[in-house]
């Protein structure tokens, strides 16, 4: 019995120790450095990125790049900040809260072979990624420039026999668009709503700036209580939601971000306020099923502006492989690779060299090409305040408070005055929290 016991103990020990020896042997083998990118997709950009990285890996066998594709809202907006705060972030990430996460970015400048190339080609956008007070850091690639603005369903205008306002005027107001869209919706019959807007304070901000909103006081602190332009746009917007001009479901019937892009693609919306990132998706989902197009941003005393924005691919400062990360970023930022990325994804380029020479977008759809040209033409019309608002580190605090409180005004839980007062309180409280 004792002999049997000794044999069993020996077997047990071998069974326990063997996997440890085996795993340590594996660790000693020369594996490539694995880098992880946290990514989200609006369209086909994940597939394009994978293609590009496959080529990179073939030329650089010492680096393997894994793309972790996550949902935008839950993955990028909610989980990524917590991961970064906990020091458990990826090596590289695609972000839209450009300045808000800047404390977690890795300054690539010491690792780049040619920082001047980055300054020359991404100059104005590098500042969006920098923490307060930093004027030198290079933190990532602005590989998607977006502009907010409206799409229309021209086919519905034609069916209704209503003239598209921007065909005859360069400066159409929001009220004129609303009136025209209402006429179309009434003429084409049930199931079509005049207007819709993404459920986002960022989307609301462009129209508000056009109507003369100032957003900040003289010290640069967000101040909306006395902002007449903001109030005017808020009043129009709440009224349109309440009287059925706007698709009520989007703002009243959701939490967080919501986009009625499917309703527009299903020809249920005449005029849709969204942004340039929808082009690739509409090229796929709508194609030439009806004539859709981008029209210039409506005008007001503050101009005819949309909001700039976009997504950047940034390096994260907790990476254990900064040099390898910089090599991947240099590859993705190189003009040839980036040009292909924009051509295939149909994203408007921020890269100055590429923007100045133009991109041959890979689409056979004339409507998509025309839409991209129209977005490019919108860039010079963006007001300086819109750029300031986009560069403001805590802009999401403003945008989210605007979104949530205007929703309450739409549903009647708050009067417009109370909603604006609550927006200011929410901003004050959150900014105070950030100071602790």
């Amino acid at each position: 019995m004792k002999k049997l016991r000794n044999i069993f103990v020996l077997v047990l020990l071998v069974a326990l120790v063997l996997p440890i020896i085996a795993s340590s042997g594996e660790a000693k083998a020369q594996d490539p450095v694995e880098l992880r990118i946290t990514w989200y997709d609006d369209g086909i950009e994940g597939t394009v990125l994978r293609d590009l990285l496959d080529r990179f890996e073939a030329e650089n066998p010492d680096i393997k790049v894994v793309i972790d594709t996550v949902p935008y809202a839950a993955g990028i907006q909610e989980n990524l900040p917590v991961q970064l705060e906990a020091g458990e972030g990826p090596d590289i990430a695609r972000v839209t809260n450009l300045g808000g996460l800047s404390q977690y970015y890795l300054d690539l400048r010491p690792y780049l072979s040619d920082p001047a190339y980055w300054e020359e080609n991404f100059g104005p956008y590098l500042a969006w990624l920098r923490p307060e007070g930093d004027t030198e850091g290079i933190y990532g690639i602005q590989n998607q420039l977006t502009i907010t603005g409206p799409y229309i369903n021209r086919t519905l205008f034609e069916q209704a026999g209503v003239e598209v306002p921007s065909d005859t005027s360069d400066e159409v107001t929001w009220e004129q668009w609303a009136e025209a869209a209402r006429q179309v919706a009434e003429a084409v019959g049930p199931g079509v709503t005049a207007m819709a807007m993404d459920r986002s304070g960022h989307r609301f901000a462009g129209p508000a700036v056009s109507l003369g909103a100032t957003f900040f006081d003289e010290e640069g602190y967000p101040a909306l209580l006395e902002d007449e332009g903001f109030r005017q746009m808020a009043e129009l917007f709440v009224g349109w939601n309440q009287d059925g001009t706007m698709l009520y479901d989007v703002w009243a019937g959701a939490t967080g971000y919501a986009a009625p892009n499917e309703e527009f693609a299903n020809a249920q919306v005449v005029f849709y306020m969204s942004g340039s990132w929808q082009v690739p998706q509409f090229a796929n989902t709508i194609g030439d099923a009806f004539t859709w197009e981008v029209v210039p941003n409506p005008c007001g005393p503050g101009g005819c502006t949309g909001m700039p924005g976009g997504a950047a691919t940034v390096a994260i400062n907790t990476t254990e492989h900064p040099e390898e990360v910089a090599r991947v970023m240099e590859y993705l930022a190189s003009e040839e690779v980036l040009r292909e990325f924009h051509a295939r994804t149909l994203f408007v380029p921020a890269h100055i060299g590429i923007a100045s020479t133009g991109v041959e977008f890979e689409t056979d759809l004339d409507v998509a090409k025309a839409a991209l040209e129209m977005w490019t033409a919108q860039v010079p019309k963006i007001q300086p305040l819109a750029f300031d608002l986009q560069a403001y580190r805590y802009n999401s605090v403003l945008f989210n408070a605007i979104r949530d409180r205007l929703t309450q005004a739409i549903t009647g839980e708050l009067s417009l005055d109370d909603a604006i007062a609550r927006i200011q309180e929410d901003i004050d409280e959150q900014l105070a929290e950030a100071q602790n």
């Binding site: 907006q77 705060e85 049930p190 479901d249 959701a254 409280e429 959150q430 950030a434």
Partner: protein, 350 residues
């Protein structure tokens, strides 16, 4: 001799394999027991026979401590802090400030007069939800259990049908009903077929008036009722049939049998169902979040959604405030759980 021992038929092969498998299992079992003896014997000599029970409880208590007690204590500490830092040591201690913010109201009946109006809207919404959902569900579950306790045709089938929604994920339930009830959903499609006016003017079940609250409660009852029906059914079946026979001999009507036999004997089970349903109702979140997103406005935003959004969703998350709100919610749940345990012990002693 070897030839003679070899199995000759399929039956003998199966039997031989079975014996072999049994021998293998016995071998493994014996080996494990020996290994266990090698480990346990010295420990038992060291801690003593009587204390061995605590040692066996230790792994479970460790898991409970790490995943329940420690987070609760951490959450309590968080509720006393402020700032955006994630790690407790980096956060600013503010004492009871977060609780004071939550309680700062000029008029507790009007959320608009409160500093943290979203919290109070969530509190009132949760109270309304709990009252109607729990009340409605207990009544519906009782009626269903009474019907399914009778000798009806297809009783087994109906028991399965009522229990089936319990097996669905709350997210799936929310999505299915959203497709059914939304502007261009199934119900409005059917209504439009019946009367074309609904094509132009569909009923906004999830957006207008009291419809959203009504549907949130109804769907929640539909999704959970089967579970409570099953508990009540077990309670009904434990009532001795002789009592009904005795009642029948005394001339009791069906209503009198229910009133004076079924209801009193079912009451302990009813209390358990009530408390369990209350606990679940207070925790409502995922299903409603998918169905209405808490809207329209905040009319179906409940406590857990408030905590989630305050602590997780904002660019500057107010984790301290969210932790304080979750302590309030935890206290309510603690009271309900305590009542449930007390009732459970009371019924055991009876």
């Amino acid at each position: 001799m070897m030839e003679a021992n070899r199995p000759r038929s399929i039956g003998e092969w199966i039997s031989a394999i079975r014996h072999g498998a049994e021998a293998l299992l016995i071998g493994i079992y014996s080996g494990l027991m020996i290994a266990l003896e090698i480990i346990i014997n010295p420990i038992q000599r060291w801690v003593g026979f009587r204390r061995m029970a605590y040692l066996f409880l230790l792994p479970n208590m460790a898991i409970f401590g790490i995943f329940v007690i420690f987070p609760m204590l951490l959450n309590f500490y968080y509720s006393m802090t402020s700032g955006v830092a994630l790690f407790p040591e980096d956060r600013t201690f503010v004492g009871t400030d977060n609780y004071e913010i939550l309680a700062d109201c000029d008029d507790f009946t009007d959320p608009n007069s409160c500093d943290e109006d979203f919290f109070w809207r969530a509190v009132y919404n949760t109270i309304v939800f709990v009252f109607f959902q729990v009340g409605g569900m207990v009544i519906m579950a009782l009626i269903t259990a009474l019907v399914l306790n009778r000798e009806i045709v297809g009783r087994g089938f109906f028991r399965s049908v009522y229990f089936y929604p319990v097996l669905l994920s709350p997210v799936v339930v929310g999505l299915i009903w959203r497709w059914i009830l939304q502007r261009y959903g199934v119900v409005n499609g059917v209504l439009a077929q019946i009367d074309p006016k609904y094509e132009a003017d569909p009923v906004l079940f999830l957006l207008k008036g009291d419809w959203p609250t009504f549907w949130v409660i109804m769907i929640s009852i539909w999704a959970q009722m089967g579970f409570f029906t099953l508990i009540l059914l077990a309670g009904l079946q434990s009532i001795p049939g002789v009592l009904y026979e005795a009642g029948s001999i005394d001339g009791a009507s069906p209503w009198q049998s229910f009133r004076f036999i079924t209801l009193p004997l079912l009451m302990p089970t009813m209390f358990v169902v009530l408390v369990l349903a209350l606990i679940r109702a207070v925790q409502v979140f995922d299903q409603v979040f998918v169905l209405t997103g808490g809207g329209p406005g905040t009319s179906t935003k409940y406590m857990v959604q408030y905590i989630y959004e305050t602590g997780m969703r904002n660019q500057i998350p107010r984790r301290g405030l969210a932790a304080a709100a979750s302590m309030v919610l935890g206290s309510v749940l603690f009271i309900f759980t305590f009542i449930q345990l007390w009732l459970g012990r009371k019924s055991e002693s009876v």
